[in-house]
Symmetry: C6
Subunit: 76 residues, 6 copies
């Protein structure tokens, strides 16, 4: 689940890759704070079935996506 940021860029080829990179950055942060995969996997059953946790997680992704979109000049 917790992959490192691939390559060394916020630039993506297509807009579709933006949300995927945003999610990766969010997961990367969580992995940095809690590197123990056993703990992270234990938590997944909780947050992935709780709507409020999912909404909170999607907010982090939205913030990372805003950064990525700006980096890519909004793929205009």
């Amino acid at each position: 689940m917790m992959e490192l940021v691939p390559g060394s860029s916020l630039i993506t080829k297509t807009p579709e890759e933006g949300p995927a990179l945003a999610l990766m950055l969010a997961r990367h942060s969580i992995h940095e704070i809690q590197p123990d995969m056993v703990v992270l996997k234990a938590g997944r059953s909780k947050y992935s079935t709780d709507p409020d946790s999912l909404i909170a997680a999607s907010q982090v992704v939205a913030i990372e996506f805003a950064t990525i979109a700006a980096a890519n000049n909004y793929w205009r």
Copy 2:
């Protein structure tokens, strides 16, 4: 409920499409984190009737909308 981002652009023809795309991006993120539609539908009865969950969800949409509005140069 969880459609993929249509086309490959943050650009919308009209401002009215902005909030709709923002909601779609938010749902897309949640779908990426929890792909199981049965789980997602089970959670809907909870978050869609809880004002605090709805407020939280609308915050995610507001963040995505900010990105989309900037991408569209605010439809000026």
Copy 3:
């Protein structure tokens, strides 16, 4: 309570209209997620009397207002 975004613009004539449009956008998002007005009205007695819910709601409005203010070049 949940009106559609009027006109097709984030541009307002005066700064005073900015917060009103921000609130309308926030309500519009919630209405999109939960279109059932009976459910929305049932929740109002809860969130509108709970300070934490009101603070959370005002945060969504603040985020929408940031977008609207930028769109209007801050009414400079």
Copy 4:
């Protein structure tokens, strides 16, 4: 507590007025959502003594302040 936004501008003469206007905008939003001053005053004893509520309120002010600071070109 809930005054209307004074004048029709986000521009302040000094940076010190920025946080004050930010707080006023936040309060204005809450007042728009819940216009009943009796309800608002009833809630004050709760949120104004709860650190988490105060932190949440200060976050709304911080978001409004970001908008005001940008409007004033950061008082450079």
Copy 5:
């Protein structure tokens, strides 16, 4: 704990002063909402030992810091 914003500027001499000013702005907001130092000090034992409160507080600081960093053109 709650000092007023010193000087009348968001400009700092060094980047290190940025986070300090951000914290001061956040505290200033809380002080504006709750001026009673006895109440504020009473709450400190709660929020300063609760990780979730500390994370929430650091988020407010991060938002204020974003504004300060932009004001300083990121100390480039």
Copy 6:
């Protein structure tokens, strides 16, 4: 855990260093609010095993990262 911001710059050599600096800034803020390392370490067992706390922490990092990415002109 709570190191001071190294050097005096938001500029990083590579994008990979961006998230690391963002995490450092977030930790620095928390350390400023609660300097007692014993208290901070006592809280770690709670927040580092609670998915919602981890999501909240990753949100702070995302906000700091947005600032750092802008400072670095998105490493374009």
